[in-house]
Amino acid sequence: MRRLFRLFHRGFPSRLTVASIWGTFALGALLAGCATPPPADDPDAVAEYREANDPLEPTNRVFYVINDGVDAVVLRPLALAYRWAVPEVVRTHTHNLLANLGSPVVLVNDTLQAKPGRMGDTSMRMLINTTIGVAGIFDVATGWGFPAHDSDSGMTLALWGVPEGPFLYLPVLGPSNPRDAVGFGLDYVEDPFTWVGRGEIVDALGWARFSLTALDTRSSLIDTLDKIKAQALDPYATFRSLYRQHRRSQIDEARAAD
């Protein structure tokens, strides 16, 4: 569960602009429109509508169907192939390496959230895993008492008191909300790898990181997502609920941390 939505917060390719995603989103919004709120004299229905907090539901569902279709024919088969072809030990090391590449953004957000304990953990993790852990391939730090935690700009904004806003299902990125969508853009800006050089090698490495992140995340979720889709009567609503609860739990954990 912890990693369920990580893909949507990490490792997006440096060359794919957020603007183009929003362009597609705006187009979809024009095509599908808004949900109709229930009549005000039905308080139960109104309460339910507020609980769902999804005024753009028809549009969101269009993107869910598109993403799900792409996932079924592209991402899931690739993830299955990855899990089949690559030994587990290599996949674990790949995951560690990717997590280490993501740690500068974690550190920036620990700092912005004013969490010195977490800043210490992240700094020690970067230091230990990048050196003794051979560029992050081995996660030595966890065993040494510096466990990993989640931290991103969406969570930082939440701790700063920014409300989450209505639910959004974004093309490619999946479940989100305005706060997390802005946070996603901030994560991109905060990532030092966004700002290192330009050129074919840098581009290739950026894409390699993105592709591996997608494979790593999706392959770790094959069973979880298959189960949710098999058991949910309305998978879209289930993902919406899971996403929100997961984010709230991450935010609560960050708030309680020192």
Binding site: M1, R2, D44, A45, A47, E48, E51, A52, D223, D226, K227, A230, Q231, A232, L233, D234, Y236, A237, T238, R240, S241, L242, Q245, H246, R248, S249, Q250, D252, E253
Partner: protein, 204 residues
């Protein structure tokens, strides 16, 4: 509810209402002991040497004793519980129980070798939330909180919160949204649940 919140947030009020404070502490202990006992029963079933069918029966017995299945089912149906006919209510309760058991027995294999560590109980709206950490071989430790309802006198589990995700809240979102997509027809939900319990559960 409001008075309870006030009591929790204002120690002064709690100190003045000495008796109520003691009752609250009792409830915390009771809920904690109940989860400890139920956890022991569950791990004994899961890690036991019985056959899969026997384990299923044992699990059913623990669930019937420890979980307020009907209460959870009603929560998941939200406002539609009241509009459903008595026949629909009873059909729904039966199907809900079936779906829950299918989902739990499907997980038995994944939890072989499971153990748990008790955490602290805390008062919540509607009951006591008891924290545990669940350890399984070859899997990271996971935080699971149990919401224990104490209103009815004997404690019963009314929600399981795994890594911050409430099972009953997720189920409720699923059902209510399904109903919204199907003209608010409880019968459509019942039919869908029938279909779900009829077919083999993919991956449990």
């Amino acid at each position: 509810m409001l008075t309870r919140r006030l009591m929790l947030s204002l120690p002064l009020v709690a100190a003045l209402a000495g008796k109520a404070g003691i009752a609250r502490a009792d409830q915390l202990d009771q809920a904690s002991g109940f989860i400890q006992q139920t956890g022991n029963e569950l791990t004994a079933v899961i890690n036991g040497s019985a056959s899969a069918a026997q384990k299923q029966d044992q699990l059913q017995a623990v669930v019937d004793r420890a979980v307020d299945v009907d209460g959870v089912a009603r929560f998941c149906l939200g406002r539609f519980w009241r509009t459903a006919s008595p026949a629909q209510q009873s059909a729904y309760l039966g199907l809900f129980r079936h779906v829950l058991m299918l989902s739990l027995t499907g997980k038995l294999g994944d939890y072989q070798g499971v153990s748990f560590v008790m955490g602290k109980p805390a008062a919540r709206e509607g009951g006591v939330l008891v924290a545990t950490v669940i350890n399984r071989p070859n899997a990271p430790a996971s935080k699971v909180d149990w919401l224990v309802g104490t209103d009815s006198g004997s404690p019963k589990i009314i929600d399981v919160v795994a890594e911050g995700v409430s099972m009953r809240q997720t189920q409720r979102s699923d059902y209510l949204s399904f109903l919204g997509q199907h003209g608010n027809s409880v019968q459509a939900l019942i039919d869908a649940l029938k279909q779900q319990t009829g077919k083999p559960q993919a991956g449990g």
